[in-house]
Amino acid sequence: MTTAVESFRTSLAAIVGESHVDSEPTACAAMAVGGSVPQYVVAPHTAETVAAVLKFAADCDLAVIPRGSGTKLSIGSPPRRYDLALSLKELNHVRHYEPADLTTSVEAGMKLGDFQDFLGGDGLWLPLDPVGGTRASIGGILATNSAGPLRLRFGSPRDMVLGIKVATTEGKLIKSGGRVVKNVAGYDLCKLLVGSYGTLGVIVEASFKLFPRPATRATWVLEPGTLGLARDLRRRILNSPLEPLCMFLLNSEASILLRNGPHSGEGQGLELWLEVGGSPKILERHARDLAEMGRSMGVPSRQLNEQAAESCRLRLGNYEQLFAGSFPDVMVLRATLPIAGSEEFLSFAQQVAEGEEVKIASFAQVGLGIVHLGLWGVKLGTAASRLVTNTRKAAASLGGALVVEQYPNGFKAEPDVWGPRGDHWEAMRRLKAEWDPKGVLSPGRFVGGL
């Protein structure tokens, strides 16, 4: 170990305690991001020490990547540099809980699953099903504004967060918002920090509004057969009074993955999954209306048994693990589109994939215009770049955007995994410079190299 490394290590230990710093190669290797391995893993156990570590890092020009459970660190460009993995895992307490007021404050490192278990005792939940599923941390969910299919009914983390506490590179803890459900005092820094991918400050605690867990849930599967019919069905459902918790369209590869895990049998063509929650009467009404819609459109529909639905939900939440385990070379693209553009985009993506001879699994939240594509068998080099460029062009022509969320080692996205800079990028750059003047927080990982 070099003297400089040892000296930084000693200083970090003085801030957080000897047992909260690790510089062993295996521990550091486990924290790798985009092929870069840090020299230190620091896991502070208080918000104050998170701030102190950040200040130290800024003073010594050490590049920091904050992490919760690490389920979404594949998103973003490879870091320009990376010295210190800042783990929030020890900040995992519920700080405030007012079930009668449907509000709570929780530390950033708490895993969503643990938090849901805690809330479940009172029949409450945070209705989020982000990438990483139950393993995802609260801080990571906020930093990436990660929301799964439940977003259709409940919105994204951005809509549920009431307040945040953030550690800055100046070593300060600042807050925005509060614990009440309505609040317009001061600038809304929650919005700025949510979805900032750890490039402005480190969220150490957040307050949320809570929701009652639906008494029962049920899942229906409709098989529209063609994208045209899928579009008509989506229109019918969105214009009906029905209030599904979530709705997503799977191609056959995606439905195989979801239902059985990888490499297990034939797909059955397009499937539109709808999940509904509430009392038996509400479920009956949905069953009746969905069956009627299916009949009138010639689309077969059936209810999934709840056990099968639950295991599919788990797989969906952990899809990045499902891919990583089975298809290490997977590329995941996420398109955000006007709602009406989803099916057309899917059709285009299917053609591009066929042209490049790659396999494609598509998960499309058609009620929101959010489409995830898993592609495997992608040849690195020009073929991969062409694939990204062409699908991005298709998204843009429909009025949307496309982000490369996961890529095989060795993939070089040109020009950027995030896509082009908008005319607001200069304002973003100036904001970044105020929050992180030394450029030590997740350097180079965000849009346009921020």
Partner: protein, 449 residues
């Protein structure tokens, strides 16, 4: 002269008022202002209640009354693109035949503009279920103080990059001037049930609110009106509120027929458990409109019985409502002022209305003191000084009670990024030693909330 007022009034009138029709007009005005270091204040309809649109240090007032085009309605994508001068209710009316509406519904929605809604992150009775303005705005076109035009977000969710749209909404015109807004449209519910629960005592009404929340029922709207206020309303609007009651709750649930039926009967049970003396359900759209007419015209009604009034906007946890309403009563007694309450109870968003006569200097002073004491209590309870009206210039001195010096410092840095010379909407949001002279709390007779 007219533009010296919104819900508040200031001492210094604008030096010049301009009425742009296009973004380019705004750019030219802003560039001119930048060259000559002139102050710029944007203004919609002037229905705000915190002084956000008042040109308190003079300068150029940009009034958006001629930028009121609905640029695009896109029903399949559930979006609309509008100029900032579009009146809130006009947008809902424009998409009504398609079965959609714009969910945030401030009580001034017949007059207030979407640009103003964005600036203040406006709320309204139905934001309890649907969220406030920020939850319904996806994209903005903004003119910065340099004259540069930027576009944030758009029709789609999660445009890559920092959520500048979310930062601009509620920034009260201190970061940039919004010239175009992309909003989300909401599908109208299948069924609506509107109920009026009548109580002899305020405390039972507030307990009902806490109990509804604790059961996890989220009505679309849950409003409370105390006896004093509802008598003033009833005399003015004949909404059918019982004159002899201590308080009423106006409760609305909406959604799928089956869900509405279940929620409505659960709510009725909670009301009964908490000693409601009567629960009425509107039987027709006309009855429903009448119940809401009373609520929405409350401020005009109070104007009939008092020369001046001062409306507050504090927020508290809903579990603390019974305690808070009692406290507000005590504050009224202590300062010898009459305080009515009509507010978004389901959100814990209070609107105590302090009645006074502004010609009485001593009473005016007592009103301010009473108001400060109520807001300090909100902060004590873990709440906020404003739920939907904004800080404006009215509450800048309370900001240090809510935020640390470090919190405010970070907000100032953000302001510096966009508005480094402070030319846009000076004297708002941040505490300053240079106050806009004395703030005269002579909020309007007939002012709207």
């Amino acid at each position: 002269m007219l533009y010296e007022y919104d819900g508040l009034s200031s001492l210094r009138p604008p030096d010049v008022v301009v009425f742009p029709r296009t973004t380019e007009h705004v750019v030219q005005v802003v560039k001119f202002a930048a060259r000559h270091k002139l102050l710029v204040v944007p203004r919609g309809a002037g229905t705000g209640l915190s002084g956000g649109s008042l040109p308190c240090q003079g300068g150029i007032l940009i009034v958006f009354s001629r930028m009121k085009a609905i640029l695009e309605i896109d029903i399949e994508n559930q979006r609309a693109r509008v100029q900032p001068g579009v009146v809130n209710l006009d947008l809902s009316l424009a998409v009504s035949d398609d079965g959609y509406y714009f969910a945030p519904d401030p009580s001034s929605q017949k007059a207030c503009t979407l640009g103003g809604n964005v600036a203040e992150n406006a709320g309204g009775p139905h934001t309890l279920l649907y969220g406030v303005t920020t939850n319904h705005v996806l994209g903005l076109e903004v003119v910065l103080p340099s004259g540069e035009v930027i576009h944030t977000g758009g029709k789609v969710w999660d445009a890559p990059g920092y959520d500048l749209t979310g930062l601009f909404v509620g920034s009260e015109g201190t970061l940039g001037i919004v010239t175009e807004i992309t909003v989300r449209l909401t599908r109208k519910a299948e069924t609506v049930a509107t109920m009026l629960a009548v109580y002899d005592r305020v405390i039972d009404a507030t307990r009902t609110v806490a109990a509804i929340t604790a059961r996890g029922i989220t009505p679309a709207a849950l409003e409370m009106i105390d006896g004093f206020t509802l008598r003033a309303i009833e005399e003015a609007t004949h909404a059918g509120y019982p004159m002899d009651s201590g308080a009423v709750l106006l409760i609305e649930v909406e959604g799928l027929r089956e869900a509405v039926e279940e929620n409505a009967s659960q709510i009725e049970a909670v009301c009964q458990e908490n000693r409601a003396r009567q629960i009425r359900r509107a039987k027709s759209a006309e009855e429903r409109d009448l119940l809401w007419k009373g609520r929405k015209n409350a401020f005009g009604a109070l104007g009939r019985i008092s020369p001046s009034y001062y409306v507050q906007d504090g927020v508290i946890p809903r579990t603390r409502l019974p305690e808070m309403l009692e406290f507000i009563g005590q504050v009224g007694t202590k300062y010898g002022v009459k305080i009515g309450n009509i507010f978004h109870a389901g959100d814990g968003n209070l609107h105590p209305i302090i009645l006074f006569d502004r010609r009485d200097a001593d009473e005016s002073r007592r009103v301010l003191e009473a108001a400060q004491e109520i807001l300090a209590k909100c902060i004590d309870m873990g709440g906020s000084i404003t739920g939907e009206h904004g800080v404006g210039m009215e509450k800048i001195n309370l900001m240090p009670l809510l935020f640390s010096a470090d919190d405010l410092d970070m907000m100032r840095k953000i302001k510096g990024v966009f508005n480094p010379e402070g030319l846009f909407n000076p004297g708002k949001v941040f505490p300053t030693s240079k106050m806009c002279g004395e703030l005269r709390i002579e909020a309007g007779v007939g002012g709207v909330l």
